[in-house]
Each structure stands twice: as structure tokens, then as C-alpha cells.
């Protein structure tokens, strides 16, 4: 049978009169191929050395050679130590306790080393170790192997030796001393007793010297306030576990506020115990992690926050201070009353960069006699003074600074008036920069000296008063670096090494223990009294604050992102690829803007055909500064405010791929994180690499289950944690009771389960980076992320609710009736897609659920994925042929496909593409190649190792000995891993808990990962 259907190859063919179509009908090519031109040139043809025969010979030879070469196995060389260090056994990991502080982040750590290479950062869990690693600290081990680190001393931009530089510096110091010129040591906050002692000695030797402390992200207001009442320049180390009512006015204490590290104590009070949990009010402009965790979050501008703080002060202290009316006054008053009622069980914190506001915080907590507010062991991690830095820049420009020595700072990049600093630097006779990278400041300094990474150096730290921590090297310095402290010793004429110096000095701090014990533990907790604080004129501060007026235009609130922080580790691909917990955007910073303001300005976010997220550009104008940035319409952003993250837009010593975002520091005038700006729409669209396009849960309550404390306390579990039911023989039965498959008996041996408590998960992302490091998860880059090809084995989903609460979302979905109309699902789902202006937020870490009845296993044509009796869903990479059936059949979308070879590939020039970066790779985990599927293995290499250790020692596995990378990294205790067949393990109790539920239980996959219903104390 013939058909009249017309087939066509191109649109051109439909055009009857096209000459091309006519030509093509007769010829293969539209134009004749110019063979004549080529063949007629006899001369060049004959002069060509390669004849046709030669060509064939070459082809034949190379094919044969390749075939022959393929038969021969490669010869591997094995080079043992000449003199093997006593502690190192190849194949066995060693752990060293150390402490990290880079002027911004700090943590008590254990460093895992293999054959002398640090490969992973882990939390030091010894008693007294307070600070767990956040995402950036976990990633810092990769920054050690950064190929763009400064490797050689540079004098005037040219390679030199340390000795040459040292001579120059010494002569300059002598010159300054002789002429009475000013010598300035500009450093980040050191928090190091020995370094501070060295600096004091340096100043004693050079009377014209002074020390200026500079924090890139300033906490000067809080420091000034605390100094005013106590005389000590420090910060209060709040203990949120002791608070029942927490009121935060613009303080992202789960993020980087005052250094962060409060999340573990906070989470303790967030898990309902005996029907009780803490209540958390958050008043803020940007949507932060703290806002996401809060029970009641009120978006408000910073100006309003100041007034709110005054109002709370009035309620708590009973002193009437006249303030203007603010929106959401009811919520503020309600919070204030609850705080007052909580008394000593309440605490108030604020992130407003205003000394008066910070004085009120002290006043309020003093009035409450808050237990969480303790002046015992104050934080020493921020010391910077805004005035002194401003004075230094003025001095430099006035030409009165003779020698400037910098360590750990990058003012040219991080100062709003970086250009003034550069011009001042030109008037300084000699400027020296100790820097990890040849950063913006090192580039314009006369001498740049490579500083060692904290994993290569000795140091001592006092993060909180009374706790003496030690920093020890875990690897020999990779480059010819010189530590700032070693240099100071040299200039002081002290021939000791810094190690000996610390050791001698440590005796003052570690009374009652030995140096070796302190070094082994990583820290020593000494006895310390409370810093006494007196009163100040709080009334005047309140009155001054009450005069706050709303700013003109938009209020720009500068913040630090969970991924990059202050931007020191901008060349770290793990952190760049880490999706922001709130916006789920990686590889970028952006202006967050409320929906109302976005509509007014006519800017938008839209999802384009390939699934990527695009955003309009806007121009941000602050006085004489102007930058253009893309926008993200942020649900929960206070109207009239916009947010922009610091730490991006760096250029110096950064790989091209990492040079993303805009530098927000240029807007950080006078160290004030709130700036008045005007915003106008600019042309063009920005392509984001966002890993979660859909923003709300769309009422699918079986993914995230949430309830309120009241319902949780009064109703039965089946009300707030309903078990899914299915129809069997026309009867409703529990979904778990119906199964296609027979179950394997897992009661013998180990059976691993992972518990995730949605209540204590703050979305900090430490687990994501820990997983990256442990499992050699590749970095794929911005372009690939945009194509949804991210490789994270563990993702933290963030859900908003389209209504005020998730419960109302579910109600709305349940109420859908028909397709069209008011209650129609067609329009209804469309509405649900856009989150509310002040949505509730839930974080849900999702990794392979290790289903006992896994859908992926049944569809694999080559049985590359199979199930172990210990509960793991195993993946044999060498067996996988890459059909991707498993990923398609996975209801949790946790399988990741290697679209490319991500190591040794110039197209993916991240850490796995150079020898230095590859040193971080975990030798116990395979590096996957292209074309295979990979996913969370439940860290089988770690459970296997635990089992082997027990076998070797001839004992049973201890209680809670099993760990995964994510559970070990989780500082809040949200993730708990263990053996459910061991009744002593924490996880066996958690699996019996009433709040326990499985993800998509009705699918019948019987996962080995389970979640705990989120309870909100509304």
C-alpha cells in the first residue's frame, strides 16, 4: 500500500521555488567540492612528503602498534620507604588531633591521614571539644592541595628566596627603627596566646610598631558593646541548650553569626523530650538557616529590627522607651512577653551591627539573668576593630606607615575602600604579605611570602577563654612556605623554632597535664572564671536606637553564604559546587529579593526549557559604587530589603571556573552590613546552576511529615504520623503489610540503619562536604550542574510551603475538586508552585535509602546493583554498563550517572585533574569512570573497617561504633547511624520511636534510612 504522505528533511524543501532544493535533488552537495583547486596545485602535491601509500603504512602501523601495546600490561613500580617512619603503616589511616582557625572559621578536629597525606577532616569528639566542623572546615583539606597556592617567595612580583626577602625586611625594620617610622602588623584575629606573646615581644623590640587586628567580616559592634561593659574585647559564648525561649533579632546563629558553632547546643533543645522543646522566634531580613529553623519567623527590615529590639528591651526591663510603630508589632510583643516569662530560661541574640543594639542585647540578657548567656569562657575568635583599620588606611595614605606586615588578611579584596588601601600601600616603604595564595593583596605588596596551611603548621589557640587548643602539622609543608610566627621569631632575634616556643609557652596554660597529653587530645580545658560585666547606660542606647529611621530605597543586607563564608576558600571546588541550603543555587552569588519587590521592578526568575534557572540582572547603586548582579526571588525576604553574599567575585589566584559571582565587599562601606541602595533592572538574564527547580512540597505530606508540638503532645501518633494504606481485596490495609517480595531474614549479623531527625537538621551542609571527601565524589562544574548532572551522593532538599504552614498546604491539596474552578487542581497546583511570602522551611537530607526491596535492583540487566544482608544496596561499578534503568526506577532520585570522566580530564579542571589535588582522594574508595552509575554506599568502606578492627581484636563491635561520613560530620545529632540488631545502639531506639517514618512508605521499598517527623513549637 502506498501513502501520499510527504516526508521532508528540512523546512527548505517545503519551499517549492528554492534553488537549493533543486540543486540538492541532483547533487550531493550544494556547491561543488573544490577538488580541482587542490589537485591542480602539482607543486604542493609533489612536495608533500606523505604519499597515499605512506599514509596507509602509517595507519597500518599505528593500528598494529596499538593492538600490540594493548596486549602488554603496564609495569607498575612500587617504591617502599628507605626509612619507614614508625607511625606510618601503608594502608592504615592515622588520626591527629588539631584545631583550625583561619580568622573566620574554627573547629576542634581530627585529621585522617593516609601515608602521610591528610585526606579528611573529622570532628574531635573528646570531652571539652566544643566546635564541630562546618561545611567549609570539612572542605579545608582540599584547600591544602590547592594548585594555585603561593609556592615561592616573591619580591616585587619575582621569584626569590626567603633569605632575600628576610634581608630586605630586616633592613626595613632597622631603617624604621632608626627613623622612627611606623611599623604595622596587620593580621586577622589570632586567638593564639603564643603568637600574641611573640607580637608583644616584637613591639617591645621595635617601639614604633603596632598591631592592628582586622576581621574581613566585622563583629566590631558586639565586641565594642561587650568591651564597654566588661573591659574585655571578646564575645559571649551562648549556650542555646539552656534556653527554652530563643529570640533572635537579625542573628543567623546557625550560620556564621559571631563565628557560628552554636548549632549543636541549639539542636539539643529542638528535639521534643517529655513533651517539651524550645521555642525560637526569628526577626530577620534575609532568609537564613536560623530563620528556616525558627518556630516563628517574622521578616522585617533591619531598621524595623532595631525598633523591635527597643520594644523587647522595654518589655523585659519595664523601662518605657518611645518608639515608632512597626509592622508585625504583635509578633514582636508576643515574643517579648514569652521571653520575659521564660526568665532565666530565655535568651536574646542580635546580629545588628550597631553598638547600641548590642548593648541592649547585653541589657536584656542581664535583666533575664539568662542561663544561656554566660560570660564564662568568652569567645576570642573576633577581635577586629573597625576604627583601627580605618585609622591604618588614613595613616598609610598620609605616608606615616614605614613598614606594613600582613598575615592572613586580604584587605585589597575585602575592604570596601580597597582602592584607598592600594593607594596607601604605594606610600608604604615596604609591604609584606604572608598569604596562602597570591591574592589581591599579595599581588600589590612588595614582598609576598607563602604561608603554610593550618594542616602544615604548629600553633596554639585559645578559641574560648580557658580552653587551650593546639594546632599540629599533619603533613610536611608542600611548598617552601614560611610561617608568620617563625618569621617573627627570626626578627625578634630568637633562634628557637616556633614549636619549641609554643611548647615552652604552653606550660602556662596546661597546668595539670603534660604537653603530650594536650597534643594528643588537641586541647586542654583549664579552669576559668566568669568575666564580670557591669552595667552601662542602656537607656541612652535604647533611646538612640529608637531614633532609627527607615532607609531610602532598598536596604541591602550583606551576609555570608554557607558555602564560601568570607571567601578565603573561593578556589575550593567542593564549596563552589555546594548548593546553598536556602536557594539551592551553586557556583554563584546573587541578589535575593522579595516577590513583591521583584514584581515592582519587573525582574523575575524563570525556568527555561532545559530545566535551568534563569534570573534577571539588576544594577545595585550605593552612592558612588555600582555593581550588576542577578536576582533570586527569595520567599521570606523582608519587603524593602535585598540580600547579597560576600566572598564571591574574586579573581586573583583563582581558576577560571571559580571566578564566579560579584564582589559584594565593595558595598561593605564602614563595615556596615546594611547599606542603603537603589536597584534598577538591567538587561540580560543570568544562568544559574540551581539543583532544585521546584520550590514547594506541593502538599505531598508523605515526603516531609510535619506537626506542631501541641498536636504531637495531645494526639495519637497515627494522627500526626499516619501510616500509608493501600487497598488489598477491597480492604484498606497498611502499605507495609503488602509486598511483592519475600523478605530476607536480617535478624542475624549487622543490619545498618540511618536515622535522620528533621527537627535537629539545620541544613548546614557539613554532611554533604564530608560525603564528598570520604567518597571521592567528583566535581562537575557549573554547566553540568545546570543540566541536572550534579554528582552529590547526599543532597539536602529544601521545601517551602505555599501557604503559611505545611499543614495548610496538605489541606489545600486534599481540598482539590475537579480540574477547573476555584478548587480545581489545575490552577491549584499552579498556585502551590509559588511559595508564600513568609513560608515555612524544611530541610531534608536525602541519600540512597538502601531499600530492602529496592526497585533499582530488579531492573538492572547486568545485576550490577544488589543487596547485602547488612542492609546496604551495593553498587559494583565494574559491572555497571550504564543503562540507567536503575536511576529511572528509583523513587528517591538518588542515583547519579557519570556522564563524563571527571578525573584526569582537562574539560573538568577541578581538583581531580592535577597531582596535587588528587592527593585528597580516599584510597579505600574507587574513583568512578565515565558511563557508570554511582550512589551512596552507606559508607560501606567505613562499616567494613569497623567490623575488621573488631575481628582483628577478637571482640564484638562496640555500641555506636559504626559510623558513616555524614553521621560523623553531623554536629547536631540529626543523623544517627548504627546497627539495629544491636539493641544498645542509639539507632535501635530511634527506629522504634513514634516519630519514625520512611520516605514514600506506600511504595513498599522498605528503606533502611528513616526520618523523624518534624515538630514545630508554634
Amino acid at each position: 500500500m502506498s501513502s501520499n504522505k510527504k516526508y521532508w528533511k528540512s523546512v527548505e524543501e517545503l519551499n517549492e521555488n528554492s534553488s537549493i532544493v533543486e540543486t540538492l535533488r541532483n547533487n550531493e552537495f550544494v556547491e561543488a567540492i573544490p577538488t580541482d583547486e587542490f589537485l591542480s596545485d602539482k607543486e604542493s602535491l609533489s612536495s608533500s612528503s606523505t604519499t597515499r601509500r605512506d599514509f596507509l603504512k602509517y595507519v597500518g602501523f599505528s593500528t598494529a602498534a596499538a593492538t600490540l601495546a594493548a596486549c602488554e600490561g603496564p609495569v607498575h613500580k612500587s617504591i617502599p620507604y628507605v626509612l619507614q617512619p614508625e607511625q606510618i603503616i601503608p594502608g592504615v589511616a592515622d588520626y591527629y588531633a588539631t584545631t583550625m582557625f583561619d580568622g573566620f572559621d574554627f573547629a576542634n578536629l581530627l585529621i585522617k591521614t593516609r601515608e602521610g597525606r591528610p585526606i579528611k577532616v573529622e570532628n574531635n569528639t573528646i570531652e571539652g571539644a566544643k566546635f564541630s566542623a562546618n561545611a567549609r572546615v570539612h572542605a579545608s583539606v582540599l584547600s591544602l592541595y590547592d594548585n594555585l597556592r603561593l609556592k615561592q617567595t616573591k619580591v616585587a612580583g619575582k621569584d626569590a628566596t626567603w633569605q632575600e626577602a628576610d634581608l630586605k625586611i630586616k633592613s626595613s625594620l632597622a631603617d624604621a627603627k632608626a627613623k622612627g617610622g611606623q611599623i604595622v602588623l596587620l593580621t586577622n584575629t589570632l586567638a593564639s596566646p603564643s603568637t600574641e606573646k611573640l607580637i608583644a615581644e616584637f613591639i617591645a623590640k621595635n617601639p614604633t610598631a603596632k598591631h592592628v587586628v582586622y576581621d574581613a567580616v566585622s563583629e566590631s559592634a558586639a565586641l565594642d558593646a561587650f568591651e564597654a561593659v566588661s573591659g574585655e574585647r571578646a564575645l559571649v559564648d551562648y549556650d542555646f541548650s539552656k534556653a527554652n525561649v530563643i529570640v533572635s533579632v537579625g542573628a543567623d546563629f546557625l550560620g556564621d553569626w559571631q563565628g557560628g558553632g552554636f548549632d549543636a547546643a541549639y539542636a539539643k533543645g529542638r528535639v521534643p523530650q517529655a513533651g517539651k522543646m524550645s521555642k525560637h522566634f526569628q526577626f530577620e531580613a534575609n532568609m537564613t538557616l536560623s530563620g528556616a529553623a525558627a518556630d516563628k519567623r517574622v521578616p522585617m527590615t533591619v531598621a524595623e529590627q532595631k525598633l523591635a529590639l527597643v520594644k523587647i528591651y522595654s518589655v523585659i526591663t519595664g523601662s518605657a522607651v518611645a518608639t515608632g510603630k512597626i509592622a508585625n508589632e504583635d509578633a514582636v510583643l508576643k515574643a517579648a512577653q514569652q521571653l520575659r516569662d521564660a526568665g532565666s530560661k530565655g535568651v536574646l541574640v542580635s546580629g545588628i551591627q550597631d553598638k547600641n543594639a548590642q548593648l541592649l542585647v547585653l541589657a536584656i540578657n542581664q535583666a533575664l539573668t539568662s542561663e544561656a548567656f554566660s560570660t564564662v569562657g568568652t569567645r576570642q575568635v573576633r577581635k577586629g576593630s573597625n576604627e583601627k583599620v580605618a585609622q591604618l588606611i588614613a595613616d598609610m595614605n598620609a605616608g606615616t606607615v614605614h613598614t606594613l606586615i600582613m598575615s592572613g588578611v586580604n584587605p585589597v579584596y575585602t575592604l570596601a575602600n580597597g582602592d584607598a588601601f592600594v593607594s596607601g600601600l604605594k606610600k608604604v616603604k615596604l609591604s609584606v604579605s604572608f598569604a596562602l595564595k597570591e591574592d589581591e593583596t599579595a599581588l600589590v605588596s612588595s614582598i609576598a611570602i607563602p604561608a603554610p596551611h593550618y594542616l602544615e603548621s604548629w600553633n596554639d589557640l585559645m578559641l574560648t577563654k580557658g580552653t587551650y587548643s593546639l594546632v599540629q602539622p599533619t603533613i610536611k609543608p608542600l611548598f617552601s612556605s614560611k610561617q608568620f610566627q617563625e618569621a617573627l621569631l627570626d626578627w625578634n632575634g630568637n633562634t628557637q623554632s616556633f614549636y619549641d616556643y609554643i611548647k615552652a609557652n604552653a606550660a602556662n596554660y596546661i597546668s595539670g597535664t603534660t604537653w603530650n597529653k594536650a597534643l594528643h587530645d588537641g586541647l586542654f580545658v583549664g579552669a576559668v572564671g566568669a568575666t564580670s560585666i557591669s552595667s552601662a547606660d542602656f537607656g541612652a542606647a535604647a533611646n538612640a536606637l529608637a531614633q532609627t529611621k527607615a532607609v531610602q530605597g532598598f536596604e541591602l543586607v550583606l551576609y555570608t553564604k554557607t558555602g564560601l563564608g568570607d571567601g578565603q576558600q573561593a578556589n575550593n571546588p567542593w564549596l563552589q559546587e555546594f548548593p546553598d541550603p536556602i536557594t539551592r543555587v551553586s557556583w554563584d552569588n546573587y541578589l535575593t529579593i522579595s516577590r513583591a519587590d521583584a514584581e515592582e521592578l519587573g525582574v523575575e526568575n524563570r525556568i527555561v526549557a532545559d530545566g535551568g534557572l534563569n534570573g534577571s540582572y539588576v544594577t545595585i547603586n550605593a552612592g558612588n559604587k555600582e555593581i550588576t548582579a542577578p536576582v533570586i526571588v527569595q520567599p521570606g525576604q523582608a519587603k524593602g530589603t535585598v540580600g547579597l553574599a560576600l566572598g564571591y567575585g574574586r579573581k586573583a589566584a583563582l581558576k577560571e571556573e571559580m571566578q564566579v559571582g560579584v564582589n559584594a565587599y565593595v558595598l561593605y562601606a564602614n563595615f556596615n552590613n546594611v547599606q542603603s541602595v537603589t536597584i534598577t533592572k538591567a538587561g540580560g538574564e543570568h544562568e544559574f546552576a540551581s539543583v532544585q527547580s521546584q520550590k514547594t512540597l506541593m502538599g505531598r505530606g508523605d515526603i516531609v511529615k510535619e506537626t506542631t508540638l501541641q498536636i504531637f503532645n495531645t494526639k495519637e501518633a497515627k494522627v500526626w504520623n499516619p501510616q500509608p494504606v493501600v487497598s488489598l481485596d477491597h480492604k484498606e490495609v497498611e502499605a507495609t503489610s503488602v509486598d511483592l517480595w519475600e523478605s530476607f531474614d536480617r535478624s542475624i549479623g549487622h543490619h545498618f540503619n540511618l536515622s535522620i531527625d528533621l527537627n535537629s537538621c539545620t541544613g548546614c551542609g557539613a554532611c554533604v562536604i564530608a560525603c564528598h571527601a570520604e567518597n571521592n565524589v567528583p566535581v562537575v562544574g557549573k554547566e553540568e550542574i545546570r543540566r541536572s548532572r550534579d554528582m552529590h551522593w547526599l543532597r539536602i532538599d529544601r521545601y517551602y510551603s505555599s501557604e503559611e504552614t505545611f499543614a495548610k498546604d496538605v489541606e489545600k491539596k486534599e481540598g482539590f475538586d475537579g480540574l477547573f474552578g476555584d478548587k480545581g487542581s489545575l490552577g491549584g497546583f499552579g498556585q502551590m508552585e509559588s511559595p508564600a511570602d513568609n513560608p515555612q522551611v524544611v530541610f531534608q537530607p536525602v541519600m540512597c535509602q538502601h531499600c530492602n526491596h529496592a526497585p533499582c535492583e530488579t531492573v538492572c540487566p547486568v545485576a550490577a546493583t544488589s543487596h547485602g544482608r547488612q542492609g546496604q544496596n551495593q553498587m559494583a561499578y565494574n559491572r555497571c554498563v550504564g543503562t540507567r534503568y536503575c536511576a529511572n526506577n528509583c523513587p528517591y532520585k538518588v542515583r547519579r550517572f557519570n556522564w563524563f570522566l571527571y578525573n584526569n580530564n582537562d574539560e573538568f579542571d577541578f581538583y581531580m585533574n592535577d597531582d596535587l589535588g588528587r592527593m585528597v582522594i580516599n584510597p579505600d574508595v574507587n574513583v568512578r569512570s565515565r558511563g557508570v552509575m554511582e550512589k551512596c554506599s552507606m559508607c560501606i568502606q567505613m562499616t567494613q573497617k569497623t567490623i575488621l578492627t573488631a575481628k582483628r581484636e577478637g571482640r564484638e563491635v562496640s555500641v555506636d561504633e559504626f559510623q558513616t561520613a555524614c553521621s560523623a560530620a553531623c554536629s547536631t545529632g540529626s543523623m544517627v547511624f548504627g546497627d539495629v540488631n544491636n539493641k544498645e545502639d542509639k539507632v535501635s531506639k530511634l527506629v522504634e520511636d513514634k516519630r519514625m517514618y520512611h520516605l514514600l512508605e506506600h511504595v513498599g521499598t522498605k528503606p533502611n534510612v528513616f526520618y523523624h517527623v518534624k515538630v514545630r513549637n508554634t
Binding site: C71, G73, V75, H76, K77, S78, I79, P80, Y81, V82, L83, Q84, I89, P90, G91, V92, D745, I748, G749, A864, S866, G868, R869, Q870, Q872, Q874, M875, A876, Y877, N878, R879, D924, V925, N926, V927, S937, I940, Q941, Q944, I947, L948, A950, K951, R952, G954, R955, E956, V957
Partner: protein, 441 residues
Amino acid sequence: MKKVGNHNSISRKILFSLAFTLVFSLTLFAQKTAAPAADAAAVSAPAAAGDAVAGKALFNANCAACHKLDAKSTGPALRDVANKYDKAWLYKWINNSSAMVKSGDAKAVKIFEEYNKSVMTSFPQLSTADIDNILAYTSEPKAEPTTPVATVAASGQSADSGISNNVILGALALVLLMLVVMLFFVNNVLTKIAKANGVEVAQKQASLPLWKAFAKNQFLVLVSSIFLLLASGYFAYGWFMQIGVDQDYAPVQPIHFSHRIHAGSNGVDCKYCHSAARVSKNAGIPSLNVCMNCHKNISEVADTTATAEYSKAFYDGEIQKLYDAVGWDKSTQKYTGKTNPVKWVRIHNLPDFAYFNHSQHVTVGGIECQKCHGEVQTYEIQKQFAPLTMGWCVNCHRETNVKVEGNAYYDKIHQELSKKYGKEKLTVSDMGGLECGKCHY
């Protein structure tokens, strides 16, 4: 088939046995010449004040760790030490050397300084008679003539046996040639006789050549081509399956290290050098400082160590390579600090995607090293004994019982699993040792 008669089998046998006896008598002669030389060496020891034989035993038990007769070691060479020092002084020194150094005896201090201030162990248990015996042994003249004679004899012997092989072959070739010639003559003679007697020699009928007959038989062609296809398929499969399997891979190493000498002759425990096998996933190639634990003193092999293939000089040269690598100056008995790490050629190359842990097998499982590495103590050159294929691993996991005795880890799980499977002994696979994820992650 045509039957071929063997016309001269007797003469062949005779010739063959002649060649045989000839060859053997040669080697016997070689041995005889070597024997008297060795005897002479034994007799030539001169008598001394003490009993040199007892002295030798004492020397080996007490002194040999630090002293050699003719070369410096940790301590000085002891040959003729009795002539260098006063006997009474020697008694005192051997019984308590450190006391002498302390007392400031000039000779004692000198020797103490000369040998890097290493304190010589005191031997209060040695009586003067014992010391006399030792001195008698050290006073024996160096057995100059014996060693060379022995080596010459030994090398002569090896050379002789090489010649004898050639002789056998040559004789055989000669015999065969003779046979062919004789056959030809016999044939000629017989034909002539036949002709002379008027007997007709039957001419062969020209028949169809064999290959043509074969080609005509289609059934045979079919069957044989199927057979050929199957056979070639079988061999091709076998060939493909051995790709990447490096069984018997025995590369040339930068230092000729003989496991035969170390693990075999000297009975050094495998895990003395490969100590990491007990605790680590890698057994590890020992670092050079481990070699130096023994080789600080052992700078040359014993005469008996040398074989036909590798001479003593060869082995001593290999030890010298170790010294060069580790930077040990034999003459001054000191490290020079100049090291040159040895680049061994790795023999066992497991692919990255397979995880193997030695400690699991060696310490927990109690598996003998030889099970996977072969009789290493007999290997002159180390080779890969096992195929290291997955099938090889899996087979062993199927067959091997888990060693559970005395390991508290297994107590509970073993009891429960035994009950479940109803058997007394559990194999590795019963415990889940065949799961993909146990080795691939």
C-alpha cells in the same frame, strides 16, 4: 598404513648406551676431583692452646652478631686478636668492657671511641677457658686455599655438566646420522641383491592423494570444519580469558632478591619483613631499614648459598646494591645519608575496583601466605603464583571455612547462622562473603 621395518635396532641400542656411559663417567670424574680438596681443607686447621671447635660454637653463639673474623662489623675484626692484645686484658675486656672504659684504660677507651661509642655486651658467663677456646678459633689462619679450590671445583663441575649435555646431544646426532646412512646403504644392498636374484620389486600404485580424497568426502569436510571451528573457539576463548591475567609474572627486579635464601634457607618469617600484612590492607614491600636489621652484619652470603646459576660474587653484589640504596658504607660501618630508593616492579596488581585486605586474611582468617603466593620459600625469583581472578577469589570464599575459634566477634553470629543453615562449619560465603559490596566499593 605402511609398516616400516627397523633394520638395525641392535646397533642403535649399543650406540646409545655407549653414549650414555660416556657422559656419566665424565660427571663422575668431576665429582671425584672436587672431593679431596674439601678433605684437605678440613685437615689443614692447626692446633692452638684452646679447642678451636668449641671456640667456633661459642663464637657463633656470642660474638658473631657483632664481630666477623676478617671484616669490620659493629665491632672490630677478630682474626688474630690474641696477638694484638694481652690475654689478661682480653679476659677483663670480654667479661666487663664498659667497666674498663669507665676506669679509663687507654686501650679500652681507644677502641670504644673507634667504634662509635657502641658498648660491647659484657659476658661474665664466659670462663677463661671459654675465652681461650674462642681465641683459639680466632687465631686459626685464614683458610686461604680452601675457598678458591672449592669454588674452582664447583665452577669446574658446573662447566663439566654443561659440556656433558652437549656431548650427549652431539653423540645422539651422530648416531642418527649414522643410522640414516646405514639405512640408505642397507636399502641399496638389498635392492642390488634382489635384482641380482631376479626378484621383482613391486612398484607402488598411483592412488588418489589423501587431501583430494578428503575434499571429496563432504561429510568429513563438514565434521572437521565444525570441529575446527569449535576448537578454535575454545582456544580463542581461552586466549581472551587470560588477557589481564598475569599468572607467573616474574619481572626482573632492580635487586635480585631471593626468597629462597631468606624465607627458605634462613627461615625468616614472611611477616617479619611484610609486617604490615598483619594490620593493613597492604602487605607492603619492606622498607630498607628492615633489610638493614640483618644486613648491617650480613654483607656477604655464605659459600653454601651460591648455586650453579648464581655465584657468591653475584649475591654479594646484590647486597652491595642494597647498601648503595640505603646509603650504608660498609668500610666505615656508617650511613652516608645518601639514599636511592629502590624501584621494585610490582608483581601483584589488583585492579582499583577490587578491595583486598591482607589483615582480614592473614590475621583474622589465619590463612598461610603460601595459599595465595605459592611456595615462596623456594622461589629464587618472585612470581605471581595465583591468577588473581575473581573466580579464583570466589572459589576460595565458597570452600573455606571461617576461622571462628577464639574470636569473640564471631561467637554470636556463628551460633545463630549455624542454627539457621543447620551446619557446624560456615564458609565465607555463608557469612555473606560473596556479596558484591564486600570487595567492590
